[in-house]
Amino acid sequence: MSYLILSIVILLIGILGIILNRSNLIIMLMCVELVLLASTILLLFESRVLYTLFGQIFAIVILTVAAAESAIGLAIMVNYYRLRGTIAVRASNLLRG
């Protein structure tokens, strides 16, 4: 039960960081990593309690997805900085019209 609370708290901290962060897009990517950490903690907890293996295998898959996501996200961040000159979230108003 405490693992459930821990993973929910980390997930909510990650979402709160994504919403409240206004200065840097990279911190937003770190918050996505925190959300993935929360899901991994939940899966491993379930794998440990139920004595099954699917949670651990899916944790490895989530690790892969996290690595791919951070690579793509940081490449997009570098391109965005080349395009706009800043990576502040409040400056991302290309769609404002």
Binding site: I19, I26, L34, L37, V61, L74, V78, A88
Partner: protein, 185 residues
Amino acid sequence: MNSLFMIFSLGIVGASLMVISTPNPVYSVFWLVIAFVNAAVMFISLGLDYIGLIFIIVYVGAIAILFLFVIMLIQQPNKIDSQDHSHFLPIGLSVIFLFYSLLTNSPKYISNPVIGSRTNIGAIGSHLYTTYYELVLIASLVLLVAMIGAILLAKQPNSPFLYNSHGESLRSRQDLFLQISREHL
């Protein structure tokens, strides 16, 4: 065991709070490293040794270093953002409440193959390459797509092609097939 879990979980929660609250992104990366090391030690103390070591290798050794490299590449002007963003707090709390209600209403678990009396890495290997081989294929495809996408995104367009109105390149290029077959025309 329980006090150990409390120590590590408080470490994870405090480090992740520091991740979202420090204005300097370099310190934020360091707090993220601390959170992931705490999580890895917690997994190892649970008995999931392979996952814990892989966490340290992948997250601390690869992803955090990647973040640090990009932060060094994108050197922002060194001003500290001291604006008040507390007016985003109601929408943040409402989204958190939405996610919390989604989580508490999520369906229960499904049944799965049993580990047995093997070591952790042996069980993972023997199941990952036989029962769940599709996941290995999907993970390899994800990594391939990420690699190609990152290379294509980060490629510097140092020689931008100039196109005229016909969509052809203004730069004259050597067309070997046309040159060789010209005398046979």
